[in-house]
Amino acid sequence: MVNWEKIRKEFPILRRQVNKKPLVYLDSAATSQKPRVVIDAIADFYCNHNANVHRAKHTLSEEASNLFDEGHELAADLVNAYSMQEIVLTRNATEAINLVSFGLKKKGFFKKGDEILVSGMEHHANLVPWIVLAEELDLKLKVIPLSSSMELDLDAAEKMISKKTRLVAVSHASNVLGTINDVRQLSRLAHDYGGLCLVDACQSVPHFPVDVRKIGCDFLTWSSHKMCGPTGVGLLWGRQDVLSSLPPFLTGGEMISEVFWDRATYNSLPWRFEAGTMDIAGMVGFGAAVEFLQGIGFDEISKRDSNLGRAAHKALSQLPGVKVLGPKPEKKVSIFSFTVDGVHPHDVATVLDSDGIAIRSGNHCAQPLLRDLGFDAVCRASFYFYNSFDEVDKLVEGIEKTQRIFKVGKK
């Protein structure tokens, strides 16, 4: 049995007071908090091993290089990649998706009239790069619709896909609805028609075991900062044959093999995609985060997520004047977007904040989805394993307080 109380204590910030109340952090879908071991790993790196990597023969550089490479190994292990050559360190998931879009473009992968299929619940990160590409190359962007239960309509997807569909780009779990998508099926569909599949795993990797071999996709991307690791680190996994077929993206030092005044040749995977000095300390912190989470166990984390999710779903659904968006708790991660009748989401967030409860309000970088659902903004409470059931209650009390202030809700 995991002692969640004890694990919670490993997050220094969770001892903080906000507006004289204990912090209730329900914004982990935006960015997660960091355990002591991750913060210490970064400090330890700077206090004991800091050097630039891969090029020097001195001890510090050797140590830094080993730690840096180990971060790649841990990322590979985390998603069950075939090797660390398939893992590219980027700044964030957004950059990883851009790397793929620039690479496919430069490679000449698309021709005029080809189609890209995204889902109706994409984050801007997995949408805007494709909008730009579609405009540049005269491609067609198609959007898989949602069913009434706020899941992807896979039958519709199947009908939309064809030989023209060169890429299916979908999120594994929605950062607004929490919905977990059947990316295995979507990868299969993409491949059936000779296309590629990119999975935006920003909201899945932190919450449950993710296995690129089982999914069968070609690219998978996520961000360290949403899984207890530092900011500044994104990860791109690419199937080796696909990744190695992409031309370089950013160019400069480290990613080259030989440089002349008028030409250059490039390094092997994954270094070919890592131009200049990377976030070495960030990668070390990320590695510590992976080890921390693996220490708890992703199966346990996933169970905890379900339990918190069910509790939150039940509590929020029962509140009069509150609408929860998204499917049944079994079909989602513990991310809850909701509205409170008669109160703007920002105002809900402000009242909650006054009691130390941090939720997010706005469009959650998913304007098209929100527009489709008929909203400009919604509230979002997102849980992580360090949250407690007690905090579900506090959220409910906060919403009720908001309703009292705005004189709405219970008749």
Binding site: V343, H344, P345, H346, D347, T350, V351, D353, S354, G362, N363, D376, A377, K401, R404, I405, F406, K407
Partner: protein, 137 residues
Amino acid sequence: MTDSNELFSEVILELYKNPQNRGKLNVPSLEVSGGNPICGDKATIFLKLEGNTVVDASFENVGCAISTAAASLLTEMVKGKTIIEVLEITPHQMFDELGGIIQTRIKCATLALVLLKEGLRQYQKNPAKTAISGIRV
């Protein structure tokens, strides 16, 4: 149970429920729209000018209680003022009239004012341009 509420004054709550001057003006002299792309609040301010004097004002918006109340208040405040006088309205005047604004929401409370001032500045430079849009706050 009562809740200590230093967050939303009675003025704000009241103006949010019953905003003044909401809606378009007929043939406005000036129409200024924009928003805060980060928080999603958007507003359009309509002014009717006679010479340099505001004779009528209204607004349309999508936004929270604070930005709605502020737009309501501002459109009320400017009536009868000259352009110069409108440009002299300070954020703090707004905050006072609204009964106080907490730190995290300053931007909501000043959205309408920033739009209006920017619109009037552009109007002063070029009175021919009576519809100004896309201002980012």
